[in-house]
Structures are given as C-alpha cells and as structure tokens.
Symmetry: C2
Subunit: 313 residues, 2 copies
C-alpha cells in the first residue's frame, strides 16, 4: 500500500478540528465514520459509503473511541474488545481513509470525588467523574425510550452526547451510521434535525456473515455453539419478513413466532418489536414501512438485529 494511502492518526481534539478545517478549505467534503474500534467488514462498508457520499472529493475520518458514558456500570465496558493496531492496518488497507481520530479521553473529569449530576436515575460508567466533571447531556426524549432504551437507560444519552461532541470536534459535512443500530441511527437523525447540525446523516445497510449473522464487534465473545444458536436471529427475521410480505400483517403473531424461534434455539429474548420506521412507535398491524427489531442474549452476549419491511399487502 502506498504511503499516500496511509491515514493520518490524530489524538488531539484541537488538531482534529484544525485538520478537518484544512480539508474543507481545500474544497473537500469531510465524512465522519464514528466507531468504537475492533473493526469488521460492517465498519468497512460504512467507510465505503462515506467515500461515496459526495460527488466531489471526500476526506474520510474514522473515529475510534470506546465511549464510557453509553455503558451502564453493569455492562461490558471493561471487556469491550479492542485492537487498535489491527484496526489501523485494516483502515490503511482500504485506501479510503484519510484520517483516524483516536482520542485518549473525550470527557472532562472533575477533580473532586463526587459523582456528576445524574438526573432521572441515569448512571453510566462516566459517572465517577468528579464534581466539576462532564455534566451536559443530550436526550432525544421519545425515540430513546423503547427498544434498547428500556433495558439500557443511559445508552442513548451517552450515544447522542458523544456523537454531538464528535460532530463539534470533527465538523463533518457527512456522517455515516450503520442501520444495524437502527434506533441509534434514527436518534442521531432526529438530534441532527432538532439541534440544526449542518450534517447529512447516511444510514448504511447491515452487513452479515455468510451464514446470516449480523456483523458486530461483540460476536467475538460467542462460543462456537452460541454462535450457531444465534443464527436463529437472522433466520427468524427473514422468515418474519416473508410472512409479512405474504400477507400476514398481524404484528402479535409475527412477534410471537420470532420469540418462539429464538427461545427454542436457546436464546434469552430482551425484546422483539415491530415499529414504525420513523417514529419507532409499535404497530399492531403492518400497514406502513416498519422495522422488526430484536435483542437477545446468547450466553453472556447481547446481540441486536433488525429487518426493514417497506411494503405489506
């Protein structure tokens, strides 16, 4: 790979912003792909989407940062997989990444030992920051509530906040998010609309392994057996879509079928929901564009997946 294709690695906020402003001054669009690292082909597809997002020249920035504020203390921040050297090799090999933003820490940590303000009982892994630490949070109040928000009450607060920070540091024209995290994608779109960020958000399709499993950094934690069982997720979603397209528009029946498939395979269902694609409000009848969203545990790994249904008879 030619050195010209080596992405520049940037660790400092101010350097990142200055870099980005130089690219824009050169007439390039800046496209951001926010990640938590441990990159797989799903991430690489986001980079392709970013590179193709503008008719003119694009500078693609990939950020790698495991965001503590979107994990609850009971969740897997400590074991979230990471491999920065491997990530940089993969990014380099794409030839499509202009810069990698790898900050050590994005949050102000207070000096005192008191917890930061955590209203409405929301507590994340950031919350041991001191009394003068980070305390500004963005909430997308309706969209954050259902689906993953029910079992992960601080998750989307942390996601929206860190994404806003990345937007203000990188100042991109375009940002790409995977539709695997469907609710996250919709929340970011809504935040961008409501807070007037001058950024075009692109939702990129789910990338699956050959056997159908949606790609996820957490898949590495699945045992061979758990992974086999987890295939029930994509299988049940495809079957559900087929049923809906064949005329079964009863959400309850379709959801029941998915829960049964997952449970029989040995999964523990967190939720199965059929919701409006825009509002994420539950639908009883599939009479508009919907998405079926699933979260389920296989062993100690919580997996999510979804499938869109554009039309139903």
């Amino acid at each position: 790979m030619a050195a010209a294709n080596e992405p520049e690695v940037i660790r400092d906020k101010a350097a990142m912003r200055a870099w980005s402003r130089r690219r824009r001054a050169e007439g390039k669009a800046v496209a951001l792909v926010p990640t938590m690292g441990f990159l797989h082909d799903g991430h690489l597809s986001l980079i392709s989407a970013a590179a193709a997002a503008s008719a003119g020249p694009v500078a693609v920035v990939v950020s790698i940062y495991v965001n503590p504020s979107q994990f609850a203390p009971t969740e897997d921040l400590a074991t979230y997989p990471s491999d920065l050297a491997g990530d940089l090799r993969k990014l380099s090999a794409t030839g499509a990444v202009t810069a990698v933003f790898c900050p050590l820490d994005l949050y102000f940590r207070g000096s005192a030992g008191r917890p930061t303000g955590a209203s409405a009982g929301a507590v994340s892994c950031l919350e041991d920051a001191g009394g003068s630490g980070h305390e500004s949070w963005i909430r997308v109040e309706r969209l954050e509530k259902g689906l993953c928000g029910s079992s992960r009450p601080v998750f989307f607060r942390g996601v929206a906040t860190v994404v806003a920070k990345l937007f203000n540091i990188v100042e991109p024209d375009i940002a790409v998010f995977g539709k695997k995290d469907y609710q996250q994608w919709r929340i970011i779109c809504r935040m961008v609309r409501d807070l007037d960020f001058a950024i075009e958000i692109i939702g990129s399709e789910i990338v699956r392994e050959a056997d159908g499993l949606a790609m996820s950094s957490r898949n590495v934690h699945l045992s061979h057996e758990e992974r086999e069982k987890a295939l029930s997720i994509s299988r049940s979603l495809v079957n559900a879509r087929t049923a809906a397209l064949n005329g079964n528009n009863h959400s309850q029946q379709i959801k029941h079928q998915i829960v049964q498939t997952l449970t029989e395979a040995g999964g523990q269902v967190d939720y199965v929901e059929i919701v409006d694609q825009e509002s994420l409000v539950r639908v009883e009848k599939i009479d508009r564009p919907v998405v079926i969203c699933v979260a389920a545990w296989f062993g100690k790994v919580r997996l999510i997946d979804n499938i869109e249904i554009q039309t139903a008879s």
Copy 2:
C-alpha cells in the same frame, strides 16, 4: 447613518449559515449576540463586546428570537415585550452589527396533536408540538438545578437547547452573554466545554440604569411605584458586597440582610443565594470568589440581579 452600516436581516436558517460561512471565508471572525429582542443598552453593550472580541475583523450577528421552550405555560411568553422595528433601528444606529438573524420559528412542530416527550415533568410552551415535533434537549444537569432552576424547571433546558441550535446555525467563533443572567452564562460555558463547541464565550458585565436598576426587557412592565421599590435589589447587593469586603464573611447574615431589605421594600423574594462563581454551589463562608444572586417579584414582574465578590478578607 451610511447604508454600509445597515445590518443585513436574515430570516432563514440555511441563508444564515451560508452568510456566516462566507464571512469566515473572507477571514472574518463571526461573533454572535443571542437576544430575545426589545433591546436596551445592556444588549448594546454585548454588541460592543462582540465587536471588540477579536484583534482581526469581526462580523457581528445579533439574533432576535423569543424562545418558547424556555417559558413554562404559566410564565410570560405571551406578554414578553417585542418591538422588531425599534430593535432594527437601534442595531442600525450602533454601526457595529453586520447581520440580524430573526427566524420566524426555530423548532420542528409535529403534525399530530400529541405532546412531545417531556421527561422528568419538564413542560414548556413548546410542548404542544405534535408527536413528530422537537424532542432533543440539552441539559446541564448540576448547574441547571439551583437558583432560577428551582422555580423555573424548564428554563435552562430551553436556553441550552436554543443556544446550541443558534450555534449550529450561525457557527460563530465567539458568542457574548450578559452576566446579568449569571447562571445562564455559566451553563452556556459548561455546555460549550462539555460538548466541544469551537466557540469562545464572553461574559459581559451588567449594565444598570442611572439609579442602579439592572437593565432588563421586563423592566417596561414595572409601574413607577414598583420600579422605585425594585431599586432595593441593587441597593441591597451593593451593601452586601461592602459588608463582605469589610470582613463579614457569614453568608447567612448577609443573605438575611438582603431578604429583609427586599421584603421591607415590598418585594416578594424568590431566592437570595451566595454561591461559588464557577460551580454555583452555595457557600456558608465567603472565602473564595462568590456571586450573590437575587430573584424577586415586584408586582407581576420577576427581576433578577447579582453582584460578584472577587475577594474577601
């Protein structure tokens, strides 16, 4: 006044952002002065501060927008004074304003009649927007709680959110806020730090009438008699500072004296607090830089004022 000094009036978000980017491309710093209109000399002092904020050329943008989301339904949104023609004349006369941003509405309003998500019981005058309306809110969770936050629970949520929107629309390098709204100024500084806005925030000193009353658009609602009584605010604050500088460091005593003065004058006290200038946490002893903050009603008008004390013996 030469036509060259006439500010350009801009009503559209996209036009505002494009205008601002052109000024920056010309090498100018963009300085924003957010206001709710009905301008007085206090606002004009913010404009002077904005014009002087950079060594190089500065384009000063004044925004005029009465923000519904920072008013509770019980508050005075409907009677908030306005005089756009007068405001434009005053801004023109300064010769220092390059553009005036007067949007008709900054919020997305939903189509359905359901209220927008209002978690934690926060309801503002925006909350009758429909189910697909605005739902993204910024909260600065510790600083928003005391002082005005106690009696105005949606106020700082609305302020932080609309200011973030204005920041994303105008994309200023500098923004100026009056220290009369001391808590608001500190909240904006904290939001800018926590969310990584690339904006320098300037806090501008309180401007007072000849008799000491802090300038406020709401002063116009005071009767002659109420206005006389309201002078007790600035008088009691100056006396309190004198006492502190003369060695009385007991917050409780000093607060008691202020409450007594305001009450004797016929005011109804909302709060009198002596707090740390940065954290806005109450201090028992005046042994660091503090600010004494007051909110009190005179007739139907709620007035706020404050005085900083940098040192105490």
